[in-house]
């Protein structure tokens, strides 16, 4: 009896110590919150997956599950991926965080990269893009084209990332035109295309002639703008083909570099959990499809602001900045720090709508 136990544990130790065969491809699983379409958030993440495949060829094997609702289904799918032998898992939505981190604690041999959360562990990184940088630039463009001086935003949820983008956008507006009214409609939903369209129409009915579509994963808002003949700015992937006449610009994020680097680190065994926050400095964010209707003068301002951000010399949230209540949040010349930025829960003066508390 005793001998058998020892033998068993020896055998177990041997299996554990056995290194993975060198020609065994590394397996990477991807979990997407919405269906992969031609455009949108999941499409952008999927582009990162394809970049990994391209970079590593047959040294990696990737697989994905799309349209995974946050909650019990996500837990099941993430655990199943681990059971299928994934070495690295990309979690594409905020709500996968707790299921992901609990699996990461149980399975220190796996690595995780998680979109937009705040949890960290040795084998669990989170990644975000500094979209407020591009928001600032498209804000400048919006100020240039608005004639009614009213701009409407269709926003998903009042999470810090979205709030930061609204702030960046508004400050960009004000850099070009000081008194533009900014109206926000909160959908309280990541995915409800009909409601997103209704919101865009509600804003247009209240004089908005530029609509900013903040994290609508479908071309819902963009098509309404094209139909109604108002300018539209889109987030996460370029939607030029859906609004050929009225798309002002598209903000995009490019995860390729980060995904490839994370896969490389996993392969080398050097993966270290960290909070990655990519901006212009590391080529993670950019603006595509600038409309030719933006005046040359404003375009020059935009380009110089972009160059300053690429060089790491300019932050859109540089004081003096007042919030909606008139409280001074940043003194003149003061730059917001990353900790405050990642938890930002106040809107700058000039935004008419309040944050839902």
């Amino acid at each position: 009896m005793q001998r058998r136990k020892i033998l068993l544990s020896l055998a177990a130790a041997a299996t554990l110590a056995l290194p993975a065969a060198a020609d065994d491809p590394m397996k990477i699983g991807f979990v997407y919150p919405s269906p992969i379409a031609d455009v949108g958030w999941s499409a952008e993440l999927n582009a990162g997956r394809l970049a990994i495949e391209e970079a590593f060829g047959d040294k990696v094997e990737t697989f994905f599950v799309e349209n995974v609702p946050e909650g019990p289904d996500a837990a099941r799918i993430i655990n199943q991926m681990a059971a299928q032998g994934a070495d690295m898992i990309m979690l594409g939505s905020f709500g996968y965080m707790n299921d992901g981190i609990s699996l990461a604690e149980r399975r220190p041999d796996l690595t995780f990269i998680h979109a937009s959360g705040y949890q960290l562990a040795d084998n669990f990184s989170n990644f975000q893009s500094r979209n407020y940088e591009t928001s600032y630039l498209v804000g400048m463009a919006a100020a240039d084209v608005t004639e009614s001086n009213t701009v409407g935003i269709v926003a998903a949820f009042a999470i810090p990332e979205v709030v930061g983008m609204i702030n960046g956008f508004t400050l960009g507006l004000q850099a070009v035109k000081p008194d533009v009214t900014v109206k926000v409609v909160w959908l309280n939903s990541w995915f409800d295309p009909p409601k997103a369209q209704e919101s865009a129409r509600a804003l247009i009915a209240q004089d908005a002639d530029v609509v900013y579509s903040l994290y609508q994963d479908t071309p819902s808002v963009v098509t309404v703008a094209e139909e109604e003949g108002v300018w539209v700015i889109n987030t996460s992937s370029d939607m030029k083909e859906y609004a050929p006449n009225w798309l002002l610009a598209s903000q995009i994020a490019d995860w390729s570099n980060y995904f490839v680097a994370s896969a490389q680190a996993t392969m080398d065994g050097t993966f270290q959990g960290e909070a990655f926050w990519g901006g212009y400095v590391d080529d993670t964010v950019d603006v595509k499809s600038w409309s030719s209707s933006i005046s040359a003068e404003t375009m020059t301002m935009i380009e110089s602001a972009e160059a300053a951000m690429r060089a790491g010399e300019f932050h859109p949230l540089t004081g003096p900045i007042m919030d909606q209540d008139g409280t001074e949040r940043l003194a003149a010349g003061e730059v917001i720090d990353d900790a405050s930025m990642s938890g930002i829960n106040w809107l700058v003066a000039g935004v008419e709508t309040r944050i839902p508390q």
């Binding site: 919405s34 269906p35 992969i36 379409a37 031609d38 455009v39 949108g40 499409a43 349209n67 409407g152 009042a158 109206k183 926000v184 409609v185 909160w186 309280n188 939903s189 995915f191 409800d192 295309p193 009909p194 409601k195 369209q197 209704e198 919101s199 129409r201 509600a202 804003l203 009915a205 209240q206 004089d207 908005a208 994963d217 479908t218 071309p219 819902s220 098509t223 139909e227 859906y242 008419e352 709508t353 309040r354 839902p356 508390q357």
Partner: protein, 305 residues
């Protein structure tokens, strides 16, 4: 004024899909068959309608295809509950889930695509009337057809022999059977009609109201339909009123947000549901009246040979 025009004209369009599906569900429930699969049938109709319009360029083809598929799906429910005497609740839920999966399969390669929306009818001088014209006479044909459907459903159910037969079967299928009425056939017809209307409602969402296909775009509207039917106590005008109320409240919510009034948006998001439920509960608070109008055999397993 723009805001008022937006809400009134928007309400007519927002309620259209609900009206189609709700009238269908009402007829099915009046015959005694509860169909909880409306969400799935609307989703399937939305996907099928979108694909058909994309391929053929014809909205008629789109709506017909959606109606046929919705009808077929609901007939599966009819066969399960009427022939094999399955539990209506369980069968309806299962068919609903099947419909959601089917919609995803049908629309798979069209995910995130758009089509041109169903054009508005040109009603000549009527459309040109300021304000009133913008509110009521710049709509697509399905909006007017949905209004016609309300009147037709009401007329057939309350003023014709067919309506009497449907209601009799819903009250007591055993007695109706004894009278020589073809209970299964008529129930199947009512359920099939309900599925077809749900399919059209779904297709309206994906080809006219929000002319794009995205999985999950029905986003719970099928459940609203089921709730409207019950809270409207199976009376046609009340159910229709509930649908318009729900539509107007959901648009009002967004307009109030855009006004910048300092009301928490989460509270605003529940407004349409709360107001609709309260309103319908208040107008339907007479218990005797509810008993009189609710089909007595609703949800019960058929006990005829």
């Amino acid at each position: 004024m723009d805001v008022l025009v937006f809400i009134v004209s928007g309400t007519l369009a927002a309620a259209t899909a609900l009206i189609f599906a709700a009238m269908g569900e009402l007829v099915a429930e009046k015959s005694g068959v509860l169909n909880l699969g409306i969400e799935g049938m609307m989703a399937t109709g939305a996907a099928m309608g979108f694909v058909a319009v994309s391929l053929s360029g014809s909205y008629t083809v789109g709506f017909v295809a959606a109606a046929v598929l919705g009808c077929l799906l609901s007939l599966v429910h009819a066969v399960l509950t009427l022939v094999f005497r399955a539990d209506q609740t369980a069968s309806g839920l299962a068919i609903g889930i099947l419909g959601l999966g089917l919609s995803s399969a049908i629309g798979k390669s069209y995910e995130g695509r758009t089509v041109a929306g169903l054009p508005e009818l040109n009603l000549g001088p009527l459309s040109d009337i300021p304000v009133i014209g913008e509110m009521f006479f710049q709509q697509d044909i399905m909006v007017y057809l949905s209004i016609a459907l309300i009147f037709a459903t009401w007329y057939v159910l309350t003023r014709t022999k067919l309506g009497l037969v449907i209601r009799a079967i819903g009250e007591s299928p055993e007695n109706a059977h004894a009278l020589g009425l073809k209970v299964r056939l008529i129930r199947a017809g009512c359920v099939g009609f309900g599925g077809a209307m749900a399919g059209i409602g779904g297709a309206y969402m994906s080809t006219a109201y929000t002319p794009l296909w995205a999985e999950g775009m029905i986003a719970g509207r099928g459940w609203i339909v089921v709730a409207l039917t019950v809270f409207g106590t199976w009376i046609v005008p009340r159910v229709a009123f509930g649908a318009y109320l729900f539509g107007s409240m959901s648009l009002l919510e967004l307009s109030i947000q855009a006004f910048g009034w300092n009301i928490p948006s989460q509270a605003m998001s529940v407004l349409p549901y709360v107001v609709t439920i309260i309103m319908l509960a208040v107008i339907s608070r007479n218990l005797a009246f509810i008993r009189l109008n609710s089909p007595a055999s609703l949800g019960a397993v058929l006990k005829i040979s």
